[in-house]
């Protein structure tokens, strides 16, 4: 079911956390709300599920206006960051709780619980209590509980934050699988870009209560709309250099780069170069000295101080014979250079 948030405003007392936010999540789509801590992701999520009242704007599930509807009647499933399982109930009772409060018959509840526990693969744990489950198992229970009512929308608030690295990887594909299988419209709140990029159809990147860019992950990575987006997305992160656009991109340090095709701006700009687009595989062009090499197993992270000032990062396959202190002259993939105005907007 399509979810439409229009001119959504949220104030806590005097403080306006979110102002005039528009967001549409297509039916069956999984949307990521990505952004740094405190940008208003959870606030948006709580407004959508009805726990917080909206200070302004409207919210539609399909053609149903649910703006003022209490949480109980909204038909949303929520997986909370700490799972919020009921400690005094068994797994079965936890999953069945949304149906129990709707006075669904016992046999029907049992059937539905069986269906959901199959879906999230915890059929053998139904008699346990939450305290007797591992983090990943709790996660699955929370997911099953959120989905048992066949809600219009599934909301996930940092669902993977409490899991260890391996489990996180596993649950990432697991949640995606379940979302695909059920075709449910979902919103994933996260501050982890890898999560957002790997799990979601589209990403809404937020900053200070505003959506900076809304796009598919690849699109957002390749074509960020602002310096903030470019800087937030990508790991290892992009390097920014000041430059003057003229004939060439003059770095003001005696070095310069070729103008990327299609760049029209002149004068002071900021250019962004992702680490994979700077390296010996791109020929020569920038001179500098290797100041730091960070092996990461499959690849190595290399920090370079440029001749005349400025730092730039490169990522190379592991095993490249690069040592700190070494002088290098590496090239840049010119057509992948991103240029921004001084105020951060994309040029």
């Amino acid at each position: 079911m399509e979810l439409r948030l229009e001119k959504f405003t949220k104030r806590f007392g005097e403080v306006t956390v979110i102002e005039d936010m528009d967001l549409t999540v297509e039916s069956g789509e999984m949307m990521a709300l990505l952004g740094p801590s405190g940008c208003g992701k959870s606030t948006t999520l709580f407004a959508i599920c009805g726990i917080h009242k909206m200070s302004g704007g409207s919210l539609h599930f399909g053609d149903r206006n649910v703006t003022t509807m209490p949480a109980q009647q909204r038909s949303v499933g929520v997986v909370f960051q700490n799972y919020a399982l009921y400690p005094h109930m068994t797994v079965e009772q936890n999953i069945g709780f949304p149906l129990k409060v709707q006075r669904v018959s016992k046999s029907e509840i049992r059937e539905e619980v069986a269906r959901l526990s199959d879906l999230v693969q915890i059929g053998n744990l139904l008699d346990r209590r939450p305290a007797q489950l591992s983090g990943g198992q709790q996660q699955r229970v929370a997911l099953a509980r959120a989905m048992i009512r066949k809600p219009d929308v599934l909301l996930l608030d940092e669902p993977l934050a409490n899991l260890d690295a391996k489990l996180r990887l596993e649950m990432r594909s697991e949640i995606r699988r379940i979302q695909r299988e059920t075709g449910i419209t979902a919103i994933l709140v996260t501050h982890d870009q890898v999560e957002a990029m790997s799990m979601c159809d589209r990403i809404a990147l937020m900053k200070e209560g505003q959506i900076m860019q809304l796009a598919a992950p690849e699109e957002m990575y390749a074509n960020p709309s602002s310096q903030f987006v470019a800087g937030f997305l990508g790991n290892p992160p992009i390097s920014f250099l000041d430059a003057v656009a003229g004939e060439r991109l003059d770095l003001g340090t005696g070095q310069s780069l070729a103008r990327p095709f299609g760049l029209e701006a002149t004068g002071d700009v900021v250019i962004g170069i992702r680490p994979e687009f700077f390296g010996p595989q791109h020929g020569t062009g920038l001179e500098g000295e290797v100041i730091f090499v960070e092996p990461q197993g499959r690849e190595e992270l290399i920090d370079v101080r440029l001749e005349g000032g400025g730092e730039i990062r490169s990522v190379l396959p592991a095993g490249e014979p690069v040592k700190p202190g070494e002088r290098i002259n590496w090239g840049v993939a010119t057509d992948r250079i991103l240029a921004f105005a001084k105020d951060g907007t994309r040029l």
């Binding site: 109980q72 909204r74 499933g77 929520v78 700490n82 919020a84 400690p87 709780f97």
Partner: protein, 431 residues
Amino acid sequence: MTSRTLGIGFLTPALVAVFIFFFLPVMLTVVFAFTNMSTSTGITDGDYRIIGDRLRNLSDAGVSQASIDKLEAAGYQITEAGLAALAEQFGEDTADELRDDFLGQSYAKRRDLERVLRSLDDPIRKTRDRKAAADLFAVSIINTRFDTEEEFRAALTSTGIDAGDHDALTRFAYTGWGWTRDNFRLLLELPSTLRYAANTAFYVLCTLSFNILFGLFLAISTFYLPAKLANTFRAIWFLPRILPPVLYVLMWNWFTWDTGFISTVTGWFGVPQQNWMMQTTTRAWTVIILINGFVGASLGMILFSSAIKAIPTSMLYASEVDGANRWQQVRYIILPQLRWPILFMTAYQTLSLLTSFEYILLATDGGPGRATEVWALAAYHTALNNYGGNLQYGLGAAYALVLVVIGIAASALYLRLFNFRELLIKPRIEQ
């Protein structure tokens, strides 16, 4: 200094306090419960005296009729002491004549002595006077005080009382306290015992239910109020607990007196003025349960409130998006997580209600009649404050001892219950 001795050092004040404020009173209660101490026996040693008024109780004490007769009619002897008294009342001459002729003479019956008195040269003429004069020479131990048992027994021997009755008489004559198990026999026999027990059970049950239920109601309802309002509300409900009991009960008295608040207000609607506390048993109980209930409920409210606050908000949010309405949230999420606070409150309040009587004492003092007399109050009345004036320390201590035993048993039970559960169940609420 080793850490062990240091530990004992730190513990000492606590141990001393436990000894002085718990162990010692309990031991004293045990000791007193096995005595017949009362106002009349005193709590120090007594003396030996057969009080004339109590002669007819002697046969109940197992003294033979012959000995009783002998005590009553021990005979008469002309002694200097008697003569001195005679001289004072009937003149020196009579006394001198009697001394000269009859000093040392004994008479079995008063009539014999009266005959002598009539036959004197200077006789006592009036029959009534003669009887009075004869009595001055009575050799009886009745109403005489003996400081030690030996003196008393010697007197019994000289009066010629059968040696078989000496023990019984000595026991009967002793005015001090002694060891006895009678208190407990009495407790079992007295019909009022059952009455007090029933009163206590009723009082504890009703007050406890009120405490818990009302405390829960307050905690849950204030939980859903805005924070500021909730705090004000809680502070108001907490007043009864911080108010001195005397003041608090005084306000209730003022509230329920014949000319008090309720009477005045109902008076406007033509209800005759009356005492809304003491008029009927039902009212007395209602008032007492409310007085104690409000105090207890405020404690429950605080405890339950903090327990509710300890429930992670996300869990409450979760229940809302799961579709639970307020009532279902209370029923399925909040109440189950209050199980331990509720159990604890029940345990704690049962114990304190069993032994507490100050509010009842101040409000109804057990009345009307003995309708609201609970066990602890009965102990107090028996031992320390009783209309008859004879305070029965021993019996009162026996009452108290029953409470001590019940209290210790219940505490032990609760302790086991709590520890046991704690071992079994890991903390369930995790953030």
